[in-house]
């Protein structure tokens, strides 16, 4: 696969700190990162809020080879207020997870990158009690 160490390395900031883009002109926030806003404004990096609400989710059984040992994986569309993002939901069972739940970011192992076994970490989301 194509997630070689340089590729993993380059995406680390965005996975570690949940960094998105904010338009300097209209203030719109994006994740993943953009280069320019449709309004024409330039984008700057911005750290995203670490709490949000689950808009919808899926319990995924047909995962990539790298995620097989943790299948099923719960993936959700999360509303962070300033923007939305698609992220993984952890510490909850498929039976407990519900649209509308409040979630918060936690730092977790994502997997290994390809044949070289670089261990990848990043932020996932868990329900807020």
């Amino acid at each position: 696969m194509v997630r070689t160490p340089p590729v993993v390395w380059r995406s680390r900031v965005h996975r570690y700190r949940l960094v998105g883009s904010k338009c300097k002109s209209c203030g719109e926030v994006y994740y993943p990162k953009i280069f320019s806003c449709p309004c024409g404004g330039e984008a700057e990096e911005v750290e995203l809020p670490k709490v949000g609400r689950l808009i919808s989710y899926s319990v995924v059984y047909a995962v990539d080879e790298e995620s097989r040992d943790r299948s099923p994986v719960i993936v959700g569309l999360i509303d962070l207020g300033v923007t939305r993002l698609v992220g993984e939901i952890v510490d909850v069972t498929p039976e407990e997870v519900k649209s509308g739940m409040h979630v918060e970011a936690v730092f977790r192992r994502i997997g290994e990158a390809g044949e070289r076994g670089v261990i990848v970490y990043g932020l996932k989301f868990r329900p807020v009690m």
Partner: protein
């Protein structure tokens, strides 16, 4: 421009054939008795990851003995086939008078979990980075649709049931058996609420269409192809259930043609939810009503607007970069009255519709009969 010849390979697990053999097979069929072409455009996406050949178009054209022709490859993910047709259309308005578009992709060179990883590269990086499966966004959107519009799972299951029922008659379809809506719910969960029966089977395929500037012996007129780029991530969409670029591409055609009044559509149903989103984004059905309309028979072969008489991506199959070319071939054959599966009698106008992912790009091709 005109579609004068088409050729399709049955979508299937063609273990004995590589990308090159599949592509050559349909290309040769489409070119039988034809005295050369100006361009060969290969539409392909996953093949870059699955087959050991770059500059495939030229290598293919060369091995086909097409001396002196020009060749290149066009990629736009799941919309590659119609993207190639859009380029062919531009060439045919200029110096070219005959362009062969060959769509091809193989999904069976790798174990399926590895193919899933390749498929996730069609989406934005938030899917591929987390290795959470290419169906995850579809699952999220399907649940959102059901919860927002209060549609139950069984109603949603009428789409795959309709596709299977249509595909039974199509000799080029991969899945030629009927299924009851209830069976869709009982299938293996893939990305819950999506089951394996809501998504396309992993199959290999190739299709070719010969496009010419002159109408001699044409099956159909390819009036125009339009496209647009959309939000690369569903998280950016104002409404994730609405495919903005598809609405835009469709509007671009509407400004010039009566594309709202067609007799059949071959559209992109990578998942059950995609089909509904496509129908609603093009305004072919009201927002939130497509699932029920499918269940009520509106898009069935004898309904108001027959959709995917081929069986669609769901049952004909979805060899990623080739799918748009299958759709063009199918619509052209329908308009010529010679589709070898379920016929839409008297069809005079048709659309082929492709989307990559859930709208990083969208393409609509408009075809008219010549009879």
């Amino acid at each position: 421009m005109f579609v004068t010849r088409v050729a399709m390979e049955k979508v299937d697990r063609h273990y004995e054939k590589g990308v090159r053999e599949l592509a050559a097979g349909v290309a040769r069929k489409a070119l039988e008795g034809v005295d050369g072409v100006d361009y060969v455009i290969v539409a392909s996406s996953l093949s870059y990851l699955q087959e050991p050949q770059l500059d495939l178009g030229a290598h293919l054209a060369s091995a086909l003995g097409l001396k002196g022709t020009r060749a290149l490859n066009v990629e736009a993910g799941e919309a590659s086939g119609l993207a190639a047709a859009e380029m062919a259309s531009a060439l045919l308005k200029g110096k070219a008078s005959r362009v062969l578009v060959v769509g091809v992709d193989k999904l069976t060179n790798f174990p399926s979990a590895e193919t899933y990883a390749h498929l996730s590269l069609l989406y934005d990086e938030s899917i591929s980075t987390y290795s959470s499966g290419f169906g995850s966004v579809a699952g999220i959107l399907m649940r959102l649709y059901m919860e927002r519009y209060g549609v139950d799972r069984l109603t949603m299951a009428h789409w795959p049931a309709l596709m299977h029922s249509n595909a039974k008659h199509n000799p080029y379809a991969m899945l030629r058996f009927a299924i009851a809506p209830e069976k869709v719910l009982e299938a293996m969960p893939m990305a819950d609420p999506i089951t394996l029966m809501d998504s396309f089977p992993l199959g290999d395929g190739a299709a070719a269409v010969l496009l010419e500037s002159k109408p001699r012996d044409a099956l159909a007129e390819l009036v125009a192809v339009e496209s647009a780029v959309g939000p690369a991530s569903v998280a950016w969409s104002e409404d994730p259930l609405f495919i903005e670029p598809l609405a835009l591409a469709f509007n671009r055609l509407s400004e010039r043609y009566q594309v709202g009044e067609v007799d059949l559509v071959e559209l992109h149903d990578s998942f059950t939810i995609t089909a509904l989103m496509v129908l609603e984004s093009m305004g072919l059905e009201e927002r939130g009503k497509a699932a029920e309309a499918v269940a009520s028979g509106r898009f069935s072969p004898n309904g108001e607007l027959p959709v995917n008489p081929s069986g669609g991506l769901k049952a004909r199959g979805h060899p990623i970069g080739a799918t748009g070319v299958y759709q063009l071939a199918e619509v052209a054959l329908q308009l010529a009255g010679s589709f070898p599966g379920l016929k839409v009698e008297g069809a005079k106008r048709g659309l082929a519709v492709s989307v990559n992912g859930f709208g990083s790009s969208a393409y609509v091709a408009y075809l008219r009969g010549v009879l």
